[in-house]
């Protein structure tokens, strides 16, 4: 494959994400019913505190997935077929290591350029092919709550915003109740009477033994960031070429159309509003510029031009 000389840039894409729903990412459990937020140790004014942070790994997964969706849409690919599980796993998850004595690596080292060129999502987010690791070009930052305790982890443009809130103001606990369906009169007609009878007997015996009807209703609580909380979201693209930048922005546009953070997104959690900004990095100094949306067209043309080769790679199970 002919190598194309593109200008590579060092850029940062950052955003302030405002929660439209409560945000939760599971960590430890207190007792059996309180699901706490995932926490990390953070130094606050010289002492170590255990504070909630949403992991970069979860955001990286969302971005990788959306970038792959965008790429597959450009080349019109929908069927991975019988041999496509390895390619599917590599594209959507980054692959998994499988080292077998005497086995060949699936891609030769001399085709590094070809691999990165045909599969920009692997080039961006990294991956494992056989026993070979591909380093990604995107650094995903942890999703940092914008608050005074985390000020040292936030960029300059968020310092004022961070000074207004403490993390304690952002945290909330929401409770939910799950009822045993055998208790619900709406379902009883659907159940075998013998099952309902056995359930009643069991409950009566429990009450006699003073154990209580423990399984009738379960209340569980979820610790979360209250809606309206703000988060810093950041990415650094190191020496990405225009195709990679275009694919990243394509994926980001898919992500930004319905952005979600954290878990329980099928239960009313996780929606955020999201406005990205782009900076060129000159050392540790940032120069703000417009989003390089024109690179999406370059990426589209490159992918369409190589669509058949990409599909062949996936369908042959070479990846």
């Amino acid at each position: 494959m002919e190598q194309t000389k593109w200008k590579r840039t060092m850029m940062a894409i950052e955003a302030l994400a405002t929660a439209l729903d409560p945000i939760h990412q599971g960590g430890e459990t207190t007792g059996t019913t309180l699901s706490e937020l995932r926490r990390e140790k953070v130094i606050v004014n010289g002492s170590v505190e255990y504070l909630p942070v949403i992991s970069a790994n979860s955001l990286a997964h969302h971005l990788r997935e959306n970038c792959v969706f965008w790429v597959l849409d450009q080349i019109g690919f929908e069927h991975f077929g019988k041999e496509g599980e390895r390619a599917f796993n590599l594209l959507f998850r980054g692959g998994g290591r499988a080292t077998k004595i005497g086995s060949e690596t699936y891609i030769d080292l001399h085709s590094e350029h070809e691999l990165r060129s045909l599969f920009p999502t692997i080039s961006l987010f990294g991956g494992t092919i056989g026993n070979r690791m591909e380093k990604g070009r995107v650094r995903v930052e942890n999703v940092i709550p914008v608050c005074v305790e985390m000020a040292h982890r936030l960029p300059d443009w968020l310092q004022e915003e961070a000074s207004r809130l403490s993390i304690a103001d952002m945290l909330d606990e929401l409770s939910f109740t799950a009822t045993d369906p055998r208790e619900n009169s709406d379902y009883r007609d659907l159940l075998d009477p013998a099952i309902v009878e056995a359930y009643r007997r069991d409950q009566e015996e429990r009450l006699k033994k003073d154990e209580g009807g423990a399984e009738m209703k379960i209340r569980h609580t979820v610790e979360c960031f209250a809606s309206g909380s703000k988060f810093y979201v950041g990415f650094i693209l190191r020496y990405a070429n225009p195709v990679e930048v275009g694919v990243f922005l394509g994926g980001l546009s898919y992500f930004a159309s319905a952005p979600l953070l954290g878990g329980k997104t099928n239960r009313g959690f996780g929606r955020v509003r999201f406005e990205p900004r782009q900076y060129e990095l000159v050392g540790f100094t940032r120069v703000e510029g417009p989003l390089a949306v024109e690179t999406m067209q370059i990426a589209h043309e490159h992918l369409v031009e190589n669509a058949e080769r990409i599909k062949q790679f996936i369908q042959d199970g070479v990846l």
Binding site: K82, G84, E85, G96, R139, E141, R238, Y239
Partner: protein
């Protein structure tokens, strides 16, 4: 060419860091050079110069470089750090960089990943998939992180060149693409005494091959370990039985 000077390099961290070893600075500088196209180009230029020095001599190579108007290399090695122990045994020398000094608390974080069965169905993937073993296996990997304000290294090197490389080093150590090891800023300060390899009181500051110490006739009460003594630190080529701590009895060979 300016001479190298003893320096104290400090990385002021923004994020927790996942250190799987006591990280010397030479590995970080080498990784940045390899990952940065401009620095890699400069390294190729330097190697070209060294080849010319080998073939035609230093003076001739310098004259040729001057006639072409090319920039002369600012330092004689791949990494702008002095080397220690050169000439005492084939390939046993080390770069003049101490291990990182870290003071902080540790915690454990987990990295999870799994084969997305719901998504696989959407893309018409058919057939049995084993997620219990092999490359499709689900993972829940614990990694120990350290939360600290800074990491510091004593080095003997060329300050300006080190600063140039560190100005594009945004993150350190493991999982640096996944939110760990982010650097807020770097500071490089001159210090009076060189503490990069062996401190003035004889303290071993980094891994040094035991064979090298013996060849240099340096004896002492060393802590020994099999470890890598030169970057790339993941590479088995540079693994040897090294002194990783303890003190040298007398300083007569460096």
């Amino acid at each position: 060419m300016k001479d190298a000077e003893p320096l104290l390099v400090t990385a002021w961290l923004r994020d927790p860091i996942i250190l799987d070893r006591n990280q010397p600075l030479d590995g970080i500088l080498a990784a940045t050079i390899i990952e940065t196209p401009e620095l890699r180009e400069k390294d190729r230029h330097y190697r070209h110069f060294r080849r010319n020095v080998g073939k035609y001599g230093e003076a001739s190579a310098r004259a040729y470089w001057a006639s072409k108007g090319w920039e002369l290399p600012a330092h004689p090695y791949f990494i702008p750090l002095k080397v220690w122990g050169m000439g005492h045994g084939h390939g046993l020398w080390v770069y003049c960089s101490s291990w990182a000094t870290v003071q902080g608390e540790s915690g454990v974080t987990y990295f999870n990943s799994h084969f997305d069965i719901e998504l696989a169905e959407r893309f018409h993937l058919r057939g049995k998939v084993s997620t219990g073993k092999g490359e499709l296996k689900s993972e829940h990997i614990p990694l120990q992180y350290t939360v600290t304000e800074k990491l510091s290294w004593y080095v003997l090197g060329w300050k300006e060149e080190i600063e140039k490389i560190l100005s594009v080093t945004y993150a350190l150590a493991k999982k640096r693409n996944r939110g760990y090891g982010g650097v807020r800023k770097w500071t490089v300060e001159s210090v009076e005494e060189d503490m990069s390899v062996i401190a003035p009181d004889g303290q071993i500051m980094r891994p040094i091959p035991l064979t090298l110490l013996e060849k240099m006739n340096l004896r002492g009460n060393f802590q020994l370990a099999w470890t890598t003594y030169r970057p790339p630190y993941w590479d088995g080529r540079y693994v040897a039985r090294c002194a990783v701590g303890g003190k040298v009895d007398r300083m007569n060979g460096s």
